[in-house]
Symmetry: D3
Subunit: 302 residues, 6 copies
Amino acid sequence: MFYHDRELQYKVRVDKPNPVFARMLQQAIGGIEGEIRVCLQYLFQAWGSRGPVKYRDMLLETGTEEIAHIEMLATAVALNLEGAPMSMQDEFAKDKVVGAIMGGMDPRHILSAGMSALATDANGVPFNGSWVVGSGNIVADMYTNVAAESTGRTLATRLWEMTDDPGMKDMLAFLIARDTMHQNQWMAVIEENGGLNAMPIPNSFPQSEEVQGFNYAFVSTYVGNEPTPAGRWVSGPSIDGKGEFHLEKAAPLGGVPVLAPPDPRGHAQKEQMTTTDSAMGTISDKVRGTLSGSGSHNSDAV
Amino acid sequence: MFYHDRELQYKVRVDKPNPVFARMLQQAIGGIEGEIRVCLQYLFQAWGSRGPVKYRDMLLETGTEEIAHIEMLATAVALNLEGAPMSMQDEFAKDKVVGAIMGGMDPRHILSAGMSALATDANGVPFNGSWVVGSGNIVADMYTNVAAESTGRTLATRLWEMTDDPGMKDMLAFLIARDTMHQNQWMAVIEENGGLNAMPIPNSFPQSEEVQGFNYAFVSTYVGNEPTPAGRWVSGPSIDGKGEFHLEKAAPLGGVPVLAPPDPRGHAQKEQMTTTDSAMGTISDKVRGTLSGSGSHNSDAV
Amino acid sequence: MFYHDRELQYKVRVDKPNPVFARMLQQAIGGIEGEIRVCLQYLFQAWGSRGPVKYRDMLLETGTEEIAHIEMLATAVALNLEGAPMSMQDEFAKDKVVGAIMGGMDPRHILSAGMSALATDANGVPFNGSWVVGSGNIVADMYTNVAAESTGRTLATRLWEMTDDPGMKDMLAFLIARDTMHQNQWMAVIEENGGLNAMPIPNSFPQSEEVQGFNYAFVSTYVGNEPTPAGRWVSGPSIDGKGEFHLEKAAPLGGVPVLAPPDPRGHAQKEQMTTTDSAMGTISDKVRGTLSGSGSHNSDAV
Amino acid sequence: MFYHDRELQYKVRVDKPNPVFARMLQQAIGGIEGEIRVCLQYLFQAWGSRGPVKYRDMLLETGTEEIAHIEMLATAVALNLEGAPMSMQDEFAKDKVVGAIMGGMDPRHILSAGMSALATDANGVPFNGSWVVGSGNIVADMYTNVAAESTGRTLATRLWEMTDDPGMKDMLAFLIARDTMHQNQWMAVIEENGGLNAMPIPNSFPQSEEVQGFNYAFVSTYVGNEPTPAGRWVSGPSIDGKGEFHLEKAAPLGGVPVLAPPDPRGHAQKEQMTTTDSAMGTISDKVRGTLSGSGSHNSDAV
Amino acid sequence: MFYHDRELQYKVRVDKPNPVFARMLQQAIGGIEGEIRVCLQYLFQAWGSRGPVKYRDMLLETGTEEIAHIEMLATAVALNLEGAPMSMQDEFAKDKVVGAIMGGMDPRHILSAGMSALATDANGVPFNGSWVVGSGNIVADMYTNVAAESTGRTLATRLWEMTDDPGMKDMLAFLIARDTMHQNQWMAVIEENGGLNAMPIPNSFPQSEEVQGFNYAFVSTYVGNEPTPAGRWVSGPSIDGKGEFHLEKAAPLGGVPVLAPPDPRGHAQKEQMTTTDSAMGTISDKVRGTLSGSGSHNSDAV
Amino acid sequence: MFYHDRELQYKVRVDKPNPVFARMLQQAIGGIEGEIRVCLQYLFQAWGSRGPVKYRDMLLETGTEEIAHIEMLATAVALNLEGAPMSMQDEFAKDKVVGAIMGGMDPRHILSAGMSALATDANGVPFNGSWVVGSGNIVADMYTNVAAESTGRTLATRLWEMTDDPGMKDMLAFLIARDTMHQNQWMAVIEENGGLNAMPIPNSFPQSEEVQGFNYAFVSTYVGNEPTPAGRWVSGPSIDGKGEFHLEKAAPLGGVPVLAPPDPRGHAQKEQMTTTDSAMGTISDKVRGTLSGSGSHNSDAV
């Protein structure tokens, strides 16, 4: 269960409110790289954690910290909105900057939220629960968390570049620091679980069941004549140490798929069901024989 | 630009069609761990690639391969739907299995798609373009790709466990093998870009600008008396080799946030604007002084 | 900022795991009447609170409590999923109940979440941030909260009816009790802000600016001959005490709207721009005169 | 069933078209506080109405009126778009106001809709059917309706403040008046159903089944030393008259949840299934005994 | 503006309620082929109609009729839900049919809607306003309407096949008849606007501005050796009578795209910005010269 | 399966980068009229194609071509973003154009994508898989494709009008030409399948099962006194040649719907279940008799 303090985890100060920057900050609240996502992601991973309980405990810690980050950013949005233009009346005509600001800010900050933050991204697109990934495989989840913190820290550095408000730069510098830690933290779990040896994920599936010959092949779909650029992934031992990279030119192994004709109750057009119609064309007798034949369902017409 | 073959990359055979399994396969098509997502993700990363062109080329290769995987899965869905019940009439009463199948399958496979695949997940939730992540930071993107392939391979192994249809198991064993390669492939790019030294991501942001003291601290929000479990993330050198892990008990540094009173044009209730009303309560004069005071906007009321 | 305990707010016990009930419980987690919604709603209202700070404090309290409710429900989902069928192989044919269960459970509980909860509703539709309402008007927000707790408590009582698992009934009986309190709590804020006198919301807009004659009129759009049923809203003093209910038969006051012809750069069909074409028909000269006329933009052609 | 007139319910006049205001008006059409939502909400409540038919009749009346409000707003959007800039060519460089307008308007008003309204909110986010709430409990539904009309009227007053176009102000003043009525109307239904005595909602669930002691307790999750502000919800009789408010400090009653280890077919990492691995750590034998023990599923490890 | 009757447009009778069929009917209410979509689509097209007013009038007629169709279907859902199982208690174990029904029905029909219809599709996915298309080009809109009525009528015939309830079959037979009319009706508008001569849509764009040689070419991306099947689209006069169909093998005309290196403030990895790093590779000096060169931005590196 | 070239299908050149135009181009990538939609739509139709295989082959061709169009547009977005403002620091104050640009561009182009394209529309709303329509009825699908290409070509012409960048105009002129072909191509399939005789769609449903008298009736819901405008749809032979258009004034045939009282386990309010309460009202004994009577479920109370 959870408790709160009335104070913030770190200081949020806005020296010069900027409603356009308030909109930008929304990406860090309700965007796919944002704090609501990591907060719920770590908490749901904790609540569904099976296996060593230390990971449940640790995920709870950081999931709880992230609530405080949403709080900081929501506060920053509210402070940046203070004094924002609320009318297009005279100002809009007189002052082009007001027009630009009103055009560049999120109108729902005025209309829906009364000058406070929304659970949306910088374009007003609502937070989406599909982003909360918890697969039950701890290494898959940790890479998902690293990915979230990597795009999240990249976002925070871009916000830092975008503003010259000292208070905002300071708050973002704190969040950037925390993202540094969280990237390291999730990697530390991967290290405890074998590091690169944890791959391929999940490591509990027997690789002998994979279709052999394709699990370490770089498949090239390129039709031109230029050589494939030399890359770490084309030759040499695989990263997981369990195979050897090699290059394969893409080629079809699966034949042409053949689907049965439509079931009459599905009400396709009549012409789809009467393929002997010469206007319809080119289906050879051989293929049609297959279609009406043994009832096999496969992608290989031969 | 792109070309196609009429044949599939790998054989898709369904020995015993199962419309409930058709629904399950949808997760691998239109789910967040599915093939539409990785296909578009790798292609968009290629199309926006800035920096060494070898990465653009490589992303194009694998993005193009993924289209073939959507095709295989869509074909598998169509084949699994052949012979599915299309009526609840007499069968439903007579045969409980038909009822269970119709309950367990995706009704839109009949109603909307005429027995073929949809661009949705296993619950009929449409594919969502927000899942297509391409941040412009190559290492952030590669970790995002590893995460997608890790949850994707986990999904494929679960589908493999769920069926005993030999054709479906074979197709999934192929896709599982490709996911093994793709996990390795994205890690190979990370290795080329410095491996763990690439962290913290983005590495182009000067760490001296981070708020010092917090970038390698595990913040514990736990209020109880049990000790923090020993973990790799609590002490020792950080994974990126640039700091030392340590433990910090969570404590507020940010003060109580104070927002200005509502702007009258935002039409809060009158009571929110007239805070001297004694029924409203407990705001001390000191705080109210701040509110109407200097126009500073910050989280620290003192 | 926020803290946590490793223990739950209230006991979560599942005597007989039921994966179909796990799916039902998702509605209380990620549905529009669910706990993620109220949790974020109260917290965002707190973080954007302008006016008396006691309301910010109180919203923080209950928003924080709701995190614990998500936790309880997520735990209940995970426990109900233990032992769920993970394969359609032999069991499906042999045992119709397994088929019904697999049909009735959320397949993503297996495929995506490894037997734990998702941030979705009972149909797998993701939580949506648009549901997080915080308007900045405290009474509007309180009615929104009462609405959320009313539909939420109704949902919980339906879940309570649906199960006979004593552990689940006990957990739901706790959540139902909390919803009773929360309904009362938000109404208490409304009472402090004037009760029914707080209406119409927002009360800071001068009613003299409303179009008079329509603010207490029940407009009847019914074309038939039956009498309008007697209801509290047809006559007598209005609930807010500021007007008198009366009945008005719907009648148009706005004239026929007239839009200008399409701008050529918008590339409507040519026929839309050349309205003199006799095939197009019946626009009278008078109306067309208006269209090409003074540039007035209104809904009244006369 | 339904009929229409070619005329509008109330006059829609735009004296000075403003495409940025057209975007703002979209919030009142397709936003969560908008008219499509209330229109469908009242109609769906009518169509699903069980109990006294007078409520079905009344909901049909107002649901039908709301269609006319969507129509008025859609007309207002179209009129505000007349003369909008459709090109960034020369004007954009020459005239900064044109740039600001094009930046501030919804580009889809040009690109997708040919200068007419969309079924979206002010940020172009589509109307979402999840907002249409009809729970089958009439008082829950009425509070939901009051909430919708309260945020809706607040929105309309903000739009009224934002414009100085006399035609638009007049149209909004009409809609504001209607929202006044609709707030009163839904409250009138609540009065008919017992007013505050209708609580807790649903009133058909026996309160004796609630976990006693928690249904009128204000639970405080605050960890600090400041006193809890005095509020109506902390002491005294509850609003529904059925209990006595009191204060409870949050404390865990639920123990630490314990989930079973992962099912092998769910393909967690091997390390999650072999918890004796010393690197994994701190799970005591006692807890692990419980995990592999009796098969009980609960949140309390003792 | 709009009016209503208390009676339905056509009789809705359910002889044997079936909650699984209730779920199926939801596709016709809130699905992309459903009635909410066409209702709003025709009304929004009417409200944004520019050009001959007869089309506005006609769209209003049919948009208004569609509200009555939503009403009929919502009523059918409510009637099909009467007597549905509301508990998994004893029945679920005893009676497998109850389990199958509860698995196959929409749980939100019980949990959220109290046995009435929702504004969602057959999978519980909410209606989405993005489906409401009104482009401002009347022929584009009419084809969109034909498409909606074609998939809508196909859906209705599938529902008709799925049930043997005489009442439901009768209601669907009415809706199928109306879809026949509506398909014809929209085609009649196309005929009035030139029929096939209305193409290409929009016909107000001068075809001389198109890149010549590609507007009537069937581009084949096929890499294999089989001949292209003879089809109406490969040779002969085009359908619009303005060109001659011919076949073109796909070939790239656009060169390799070259993007500038990342802007440092976007915080890509350092390695992306320092392309001389030999590990990075294969960019020739010539290409890099271009990158840092003239500032031209194009897809052709030469 | 699929292959690629490193070169683009057609040249993409941006003479003067414009980040606001980059945002506009997103509509053609991830909007409902955009290229991701048609790409996936044609491919899914191919993969689910039942009936003559020539249509599968042809859909694969054009679906594959569309990937190249997404690529061209994504490249155009990236090129238009080069040199875009990444900071609101000094420039914003100094230069109003910079403010207008930053307000008018998509902030996620900077924040989330590092100056490249997103899988979203011009408002940042993500691509939605629900738009991918493949009904299994080939003529329904072809009309859906014509509709997509008609709104798509209209969009492209509007983008063409909006820019004066010669490179962008050239690229759009190519895409407009391709849309011309694709409109013709889908119409050619309809011609092969009977042209107007293919209607009503699906043509495999026996029209004798339709409710007679309504399938060629224009139903007028208009309550006023003006005459119905003469249109092709009011009289004369129907477009499909199978009926005669005629006019019907809307009139209810379905009676008043009567739903059973709420099931107690659904927890409506008590007042909804005790309809004898005189305050509740107007339900006559006759109707209530019907409710509790024979168990018939219908819309006609008599």
